[in-house]
Symmetry: C2
Subunit: 405 residues, 2 copies
Amino acid sequence: MATRVLKFGGTSVGSLERIRASAAIAAAERRRGEDVAVVVSAMAGETDRLLTLAAGLGFDLGDAETDVVISAGEQISAALMAMAIRLEGLHSQSFLGWQAGIRTDGPPGAARINGLDADPIRKSMETGYVPVMAGFQGASADGRVRTLGRGGTDLSAVALAAALNASCDIYTDVDGVFTTDPRIEPKARRIQKISYDEMLELAAQGAKVLQTRSAEFAKARNVPLRVLSSFAEPGQSEGTTIMRAEDIAERRIVSGIAYARDQARVALRGVSQTPEAAANVFSGLADADIGVDMIVQSPASEAGRANLEFTVDRRDLKNALARIGESDARDVLSETGLAKVSVVGLGLNRRADVARILYRALANENIAVRTVATSEIKISVLIENDAVEHAVRALHAAYGLDDAS
Amino acid sequence: MATRVLKFGGTSVGSLERIRASAAIAAAERRRGEDVAVVVSAMAGETDRLLTLAAGLGFDLGDAETDVVISAGEQISAALMAMAIRLEGLHSQSFLGWQAGIRTDGPPGAARINGLDADPIRKSMETGYVPVMAGFQGASADGRVRTLGRGGTDLSAVALAAALNASCDIYTDVDGVFTTDPRIEPKARRIQKISYDEMLELAAQGAKVLQTRSAEFAKARNVPLRVLSSFAEPGQSEGTTIMRAEDIAERRIVSGIAYARDQARVALRGVSQTPEAAANVFSGLADADIGVDMIVQSPASEAGRANLEFTVDRRDLKNALARIGESDARDVLSETGLAKVSVVGLGLNRRADVARILYRALANENIAVRTVATSEIKISVLIENDAVEHAVRALHAAYGLDDAS
């Protein structure tokens, strides 16, 4: 029998009503004859409420006891979901991380799954149950509760699907992955099929529908992934299927436009032009778990020296500046109020006119480009925060995404 | 080194401020040189909030998933308490029921502790930590979360103390056990020393400071018990010590007056006068976990038949009447709006004038007595709900409890 892991995010379990609606979806899938396991996030707002309690004593994400506090959120929603599935006339049972055999290593608040004994969940399904696993949590080798970091429930779901050789459906409050944020561009369309790599880039560049680590995990383990809406009637959400590029028959040059507001640009002037100098800068940032993007290196006017610049999230700027204090840069500058807009598509590297389209579209809107960075399947531009909406709409049109597919 | 288990109830961890105050008490005890383990209830109101969530899906206490939901309450407070103890400059670590080796059997919502592997908690103390255990919870043999029923955190604390060969301090929002409820009788005084048996009767008859099962457990395992206030400065609460009767040098005839409002009286007229007939009635009630008190049996006018009456909590009446539907009673009557007032004291059975004092005190106040039931160390009277306050005050005075000791 085919097995399907259904993940329901915070808004999909945000109230008892939403939990019942999501349970109806799970029950419908089960009745179609597939084995079904469910993975849930905490009820929307609950993790923040619990983090506020811990913060009131001065403890943040990253402390072992904070993990014990916030993991209660998924514990509650998992048990409520199991109840709601029983109301659908099925057998159901909740599993906390330790009960589901999710073993982790790594620090509290950002643990990694390093093992998953799928037997408890598998046995539950074999005895006719719909198991409901609390996402976002596991237990360390010494039996302490650990959480997996932001978006960790997606990762729990994908890891469980991989262990069960199952497909994974991510239920959220939107009907799939869109060519861009429909709140900015009403012409945004749902993407029917997208490759793991494009999904990864969209997620990394700001699309919030799926977490980067889970897209990576799904790609590495070849887990068939769908993103669907739990707000549609059971079976009515078409969603987006995420698959290997070679399995997508009809590929578009560009799949989507992502954006991330509130970026900061850090510029180091006159760093020693040795591999160690740059490596030191970035290893300090990596140690502090600060995500870095749009790295540009160029020769400085002083011989043997280079200029190095990159972007970080605005919230990480202070921490980042502290970390690079020990570099031998002549000068360190930083700038805030910036945003990153990224064009993502498998065809980008094969098309000569991609850069031309980008610059022309932004020039037509009088949008100044600070920095450009490219990868195989992505071009990112750094612009003013205020220009985000114009830039997204201009690029959405310029790359032909406005047209009905 | 002596070991002390400190239990903090819901109001003692009802806010971050209260958690910090309770942590200061634990830290002060630790600094006095004793090994300290802490056991906590959920923050006041949290269990009800979680029960309301489960009830919203139609699930009550007694369902396995309800246990998963409500056990989150103690999980959160245990981790917050460990944080607060660390703010006192000590090492601390939380333990959930399954981590602390609390094994249970019995039904969800009312499980019994059938084993406690104290090693994790002991090792934590040996390595210099103050372990904080989530009360009210354990895990069944098949690894499911179970809760211990109302007041279960007292039981967790006493069981842990027994396993550690420790004494147990129950911290609450009052400075010990009182001769009666000070809200009714301002002359109520703190009892300095009381026997396990008296404490048990006071708890069973309505005094809410300690749960019956935990007093029984403490007596059976001879765990030295104190009831103290967490609202006093560290070391300033004198509290009540609960000990074996033979260790109390100066005993009073009467220790306290307890009361329970909203009782119901059930009368079965003309039950077959065979042992089986009465046994059937009570085994049906026991199966439904309905507490029965003040049982009185008397011959009926019809030969070979008896009248049987008893009290149950008002909330259990409907269920109780359903359970006794199969008895062969000629008639079943029930009456509500009643209250039980109980006089408890080790000296009651040795004093001939105890009954006289009781009847005279109530007669002086024109309080009609429905039923009287006595045990070795207790006399209970069933009266109108409205008469409770007068009765408590009259008996408090009549048995000499108004006088300063």
